[in-house]
Amino acid sequence: MADESKGTKISRRKFVKNSGYVAGGVVGGGLIGSLLGVNFGGTEQTSTAPAQETKFNQALMYFTRQADFNTLGAATERIFPTDDNGPGALELGVPYFIDHQLAGAYGNNDNEYMQGPFYTGTPFQGYQSALKRHEIFMQGIRALDRESEANFNDSFTNLEEEQQDEILQSFEADEVELKGVTSSEFFEMLRTATLAGAYSDPLYGGNDDMEGWKMKEYPGSQMSYINEIEDDDFKEIEPSALNEHL
């Protein structure tokens, strides 16, 4: 019964399509703005965008080429697309989340055992790549474009949704050759990072405005449920985030 507020959800989607608005800021030719333009066939209409505070944390810490970041954005949007339920990866800020994560401990495998020798393991032995995650992402994202050019003569961001899915599926099925890592390992990393970006506390730059939580009817970081735990009815609770705990 995902029907409670369908009406408003549909209109939000139309709004995204038509205005080129991305939660998290006004888009005037910005990275994601141009992306949305491509993906949804809309033109940028900055004039109709609502007055939103500029999010100064939406800039790149890790990626150096805009094209790579756009490819990442398009891929995450296929993994977690905008639909009648609400925003997809782009609108939630997932690409910024991933960019920021790649620049830090996650991208650099800070808490992981990275000493050699390295061997290919069985499927039951886990991560055995000598590469750090940021290297895997960079390589994988470039390979998405390379495969797109090879198969469809165009960059990944310019492909039709079905074509993008086809490329992603070929990565998932290990049909693409990468160095030092399999394409399915890269794909799985991309998939889990996308979900983390959609649903982690907004402090990390994703889950913009807690929209990921709202769609899932998840109230985020509440202090206590001691007064509700025994109740029979389902509780619709306005989510709260960690900044309230400061």
């Binding site: 019964m1 995902a2 296929r78 993994i79 977690f80 697309p81 639909d83 339920n85 997809g88 401990a105 996650y106 495998n109 808490n111 992981e112 055992y113 990275m114 000493q115 020798p117 061997y119 393991g121 069985t122 499927p123 039951f124 032995q125 886990g126 991560y127 055995q128 899915d165 998939r191 996308t194 979900l195 983390a196 649903y199 982690s200 506390d201 402090l203 990390y204 990921g212 939580w213 769609m215 899932k216 009817e217 998840y218 109230p219 985020g220 970081s221 509440q222 202090m223 206590s224 449920y225 001691i226 509700e228 735990i229 025994e230 109740d231 029979d232 389902f234 509780k235 960690l242 705990h245």
Partner: protein, 579 residues
């Protein structure tokens, strides 16, 4: 240059539940104790920003730093072992309190059957029930002997619970009453009763009320905040070493907690431990801490590793079946089923680490195994621990793992699905063991521990049986779609299963087949005690901490006795049961 420090009565390696219990009991007796902990200090005040799934549940903010130390793994003795480069299947602790900070708090007593599993199984089903490859053995102690120690741990932690109709007999009620129930638990209990099973509220270290323990420590009442497992408790409402035994030890003035201290060797001379050597992880300086008694309380994995590395006891050899250190490593099977409800929503995001209801009808020897192809069983529970959105994306089988349909279904079912799951017992097998790795080293240049482990036929059969039973309950609960869990082709180190690793330094009555006696004292070295689930000769159908807590209290009693009298505290029984 190793700097030699002043001698103390006792030194513990690691300060989690077992280290904390030993420290508190010895320090209360007026003995001076040093606790060496490789991780940093932490306490309730560190948990104000704890409601962060990404930082703590996904990126393992409170767990072991595997860049410094991990283990290597393979399924079979003839495979190449490779490092577990990132955590997955289990999440060992690090820092003051160990995994006792981020545990769920489901606090059980093993069954009487467990402690005499070999003789009881033989008696009831004959000696050939399991093949010779299963190295099943008795623990050299009975449940009745351990009962007071179980209660002592429960009193320290203030465990909240109610009588388990099929559980081990209790002399006393739980220190605090059961937690609140919830519609999810009520639904399970009602269905279980309809099926003529015996449901009850899970015993919990998330306390139902504020409680003062016999040592004078106060534990607060649980707020059902839903950020419990993998998180510390910001209210001091989850019993952990940090809110119980460590402050008790501190107050005596006889306990020194030394953090950033990674122990690399147990020093010994002429069959006697003389102390330990450790590295200050911040400065790299090395120290020698002499002690009259050395106590390994560094979890299953490091307890075993330190003995192997220090060349104490005979390493287990799977070819000959001889040797004991590293033997009988066990884990658990996580059987169960998922149920999807089309027309109902549950508050799955609320909860507590031990908010649950259980049936023990399929655990231990509570049911007849004559016509079954396995022994033992598991507790079957529904838990409401607080569902979280990144890692919880319940979708019926055959739903794609990403894209439009994935999103639709995972949103739809987030609050419309429930799981019934088992803590399935694990029996020891000759090819499942711990040893030292030849190729990989930790940050201090010492060999990593090597885990050789795979699921057995016994595991597969038990898994199937328990998953079917879980599915029956979900059907009775009214789920529209019910799907049984499947066991993976081989044990897989990647997905989280449980942090219930056991064995390696097992307890028994016979030094030929066990490493420690029932006071956790090494047969081979009177003044060395090895405490924890490393002593379990097999793993039961429950979470382990209640039992390892009981063994720790018994070990503390043994250490005090040993410091008084010396010598072996238990006489070896050469005729103990072994396959």
């Amino acid at each position: 240059m190793v700097k030699k420090l002043d001698k103390v009565d006792a030194v513990t390696v690691g300060v989690g539940w077992t280290g904390g219990i030993i420290a508190a009991e010895l320090a209360k007796e007026g003995l001076n104790v040093v606790g060496l902990e490789r991780g940093s200090d932490r306490d309730t005040e560190d948990f104000q920003m704890i409601h962060d799934e990404y930082r703590y549940a996904v990126r393992y903010g409170l767990m072991q730093d595997t860049s410094k130390e991990t283990l290597t793994f393979r399924n079979k003795p003839d495979e190449r072992a490779l490092p577990m480069r990132q955590l997955g299947s289990f999440l060992p602790g690090e820092g003051v309190g160990g995994a006792g900070d981020h545990w769920n708090g489901q606090t059980w007593r093993f069954l009487p059957y467990d402690f005499q599993i070999k003789s009881e199984t033989d008696k009831e089903y004959g000696e050939d029930k399991l093949s010779e490859d299963y190295t099943l053995q008795d623990w050299g102690i009975t449940y009745d002997e351990l009962e007071p120690y179980f209660y002592k741990f429960e009193q320290t932690a203030g465990i909240s619970g109610e009588e388990n109709p099929l559980g081990a007999p209790r002399e006393n009620d739980y220190p605090t009453g059961p937690m609140k129930s919830s519609p999810i638990l009520d639904r399970f209990k009602e269905a279980a009763k309809n099926l003529e099973l015996h449901p009850f509220q899970m015993p919990s270290a998330n306390l139902s009320e504020q409680y003062e323990n016999p040592d004078g420590e106060t534990i607060n009442a649980c707020q059902y905040c839903g950020f419990c497992e993998r998180f510390g408790c910001e209210y001091g409402a989850k019993s952990s070493p940090n809110v119980t035994v460590i402050p008790t030890a501190m107050k005596t003035g006889n306990f020194e907690l030394r953090t950033d201290s990674n122990v690399v060797e147990v020093l010994h001379e002429n069959g006697k431990a003389t102390g330990v050597r450790y590295v200050d992880v911040k400065t790299g300086e090395e120290f020698e801490q002499p002690a009259d008694v050395v106590v390994l309380t560094s979890y299953v994995l490091n307890n075993t590793r330190l003995l192997l590395q220090s060349e104490i006891g005979e390493p287990y050899d799977p070819e000959t079946g001889e040797g004991v250190i590293g033997k009988n490593y066990c884990y658990q099977i996580t059987a169960g089923a998922d149920g999807y409800f089309e027309n109902e929503k549950f508050n799955t995001f609320m909860g507590a680490g031990s908010l649950g209801a259980t049936v023990d009808d399929f655990n231990g020897n509570n049911f007849d195994h004559t016509d079954l192809d396995f022994i033992h069983g598991g507790s079957l529970s529904i838990t409401q621990t607080g569902r979280r959105p990144i890692e919880s994306n319940p979708i019926p089988k055959d739903t794609p793992k990403w894209g439009k349909e994935f999103k639709e279904q995972s949103l739809h079912y987030f609050n419309r699905s429930l799981s019934v799951s088992a803590e399935g017992a694990s029996m020891p097998h000759r090819n499942n063991y711990l040893s030292l790795d030849e190729n990989y080293k930790d940050a201090y240049g010492n060999p990593l521990l090597k885990l050789t482990y795979d699921f057995t036929e016994q595991d597969r059969n038990l898994h199937k049986y328990l998953s079917e039973k879980a599915a029956d309950i979900l059907h009775e609960m009214g789920a529209d779609i019910v799907e049984e869990n499947e066991i993976s082709e081989h044990y897989d180190i990647v997905p989280y299963q449980t942090t219930h690793n056991t064995g390696g330094v097992i307890m028994g009555g016979d030094p030929e087949t066990s490493a420690v006696n029932n006071y956790s004292q090494m047969w081979d070295m009177d003044n060395l005690f090895v405490v924890g689930a490393s002593a379990f000769a097999h793993n039961s159908g429950y979470n382990p901490t209640g039992t390892l807590g009981a063994l720790a209290y018994r070990a503390a009693e043994g250490i005090i006795k040993f410091l008084d009298e010396g010598g072996q505290l238990v006489q070896a029984d050469k005729n103990s049961q072994l396959v």
